[in-house]
């Protein structure tokens, strides 16, 4: 499969985010083994692959949550893997948004509290943070739910709140790891429609990890992670054609 690996090159122009020849292991398990990936500004990229292929590890490396054992991670001209913990935390808080399979909302807090939380953590004034949180509610079909505790919401509502919270800081990159994994088909579609629609409106770049082809079909492009390496299918098609 080596010939099908993606070379460390930008997709078009300078990529906004890029991994170059990244290796990462957890004890004896090699999660990434020379994985390279480039995501253009404003692009929606689906990262697919079977369970244990390393796709979530790739997302965590791109987002500066994990530091790879070897290789480079770049964001907007900066080496993410060389930043210290404080800088990386700041980068994640200000430039990146995250949506995971389970919303990871604070169930005891209200919808408005949860959406305002990242703004408050970024030292935004309370009144301003809550005004911004309230503005997200209609965009995500959450009108009238601002005072509801998130523990009382349906799965689809909770994921929409998680999406609002991820977007509250107007991140440059939205990282979504199986964002519809816990939802039924129609609810998942609604979440994807909102995710993609708002990302386009906000000109946000999206890295979408999913094993579900129906979810991946919302992306501009998909790559496959297999055995810790990234396979670009378009490149694969070209090479097979030779």
């Amino acid at each position: 499969m080596t010939s099908l690996q993606v070379p460390a090159k930008p997709v078009s122009g300078r990529p906004l985010i890029q991994a170059i020849d990244v290796y990462m292991s957890f004890g004896p398990t090699q999660a990434l083994a020379g994985a390279s990936l480039a995501v253009g500004r404003g692009e929606i990229l689906a990262v697919m692959g079977p369970s244990g292929s390393g796709k979530s590890t790739m997302l965590h490396c791109l987002a500066g949550i994990f530091t790879p054992d070897k290789g480079q991670v770049w964001f907007d001209g900066r080496r993410v893997d060389e930043l210290n913990d404080t800088r990386r935390t700041e980068l994640r808080r200000t430039a990146f948004g995250f949506v995971f399979q389970f919303g990871q909302l604070v169930p005891e807090l209200t919808v408005a509290d949860n959406i305002a939380l990242p703004l408050l953590l970024n030292r935004e004034k309370r009144k301003s943070a809550y005004a911004k949180a309230a503005a997200w509610l209609p965009r995500l079909g959450l009108e009238g739910l601002g005072e509801r505790r998130t523990g009382e919401l349906s799965g689809g509502q909770a994921q929409r709140v998680a999406l609002a919270r991820a977007l509250a800081m107007r991140p440059q990159v939205l990282f979504a790891d199986e964002p519809t994994g816990s939802l039924d088909t129609l609810t998942g579609e609604m979440v994807m429609e909102l995710l993609v629609g708002i990302a386009r409106e906000e000109d946000a770049t999206v890295v979408l990890v999913t094993h579900d082809p129906r979810v991946a079909a919302y992306a501009d492009r998909e790559v496959m992670v297999r055995d810790g390496k990234v396979i670009d299918r378009a490149s694969a098609a070209v090479q097979v054609g030779h």
Binding site: L4, P213, A217, M224, V240
Partner: protein
Amino acid sequence: MLTLVTVPMTLLGLLEREPSHGYDLKRDYDALFGQGKPLPFGQVYSTLSRLARDGKVTSGDAEPGSGPDRKRYAITEVGATELSGWLADPIEPEPHLQTVLFAKVVVALMLGRPADAYLDTQRAAHLQRMRELTELKRSGNLMETLLADHGLFHLEADLRWIDVTSARLSALAEMVRAR
């Protein structure tokens, strides 16, 4: 895509709703089932002729007025029974794609060619089609959405087969080469 079998059945369905003229049947067919591929008049009338020949519809005498055909068609008992049967019977599953892909994979493994790359290419083509159907859903009406959903679920099933086959390639290669 509506098949040759489906057109007569949809016309019978329209006629079970109410007796109708050929022109009106075409108009209703195009609105409900055409999805950008209108049914040619010739096919409407040839289908109605066959249905009449087989006793599934009756046609009245030509009515006065302009137009190519002023006959009014109505469904018969035989036609209604056939329509009910068609609605109730499951469609024959169509494993043709899997058959072709299976043959490709086995031949590739037999010849030491990159079966995994062929599957990757097929997966990319499937996903590209899924992207097109997803976009159609986002911009289309509910009927287009339902048809696109049908296509998406079929493509998804193929993709699952492709994924599982990819995961089993090593074992399959051993079996193929041992023969």
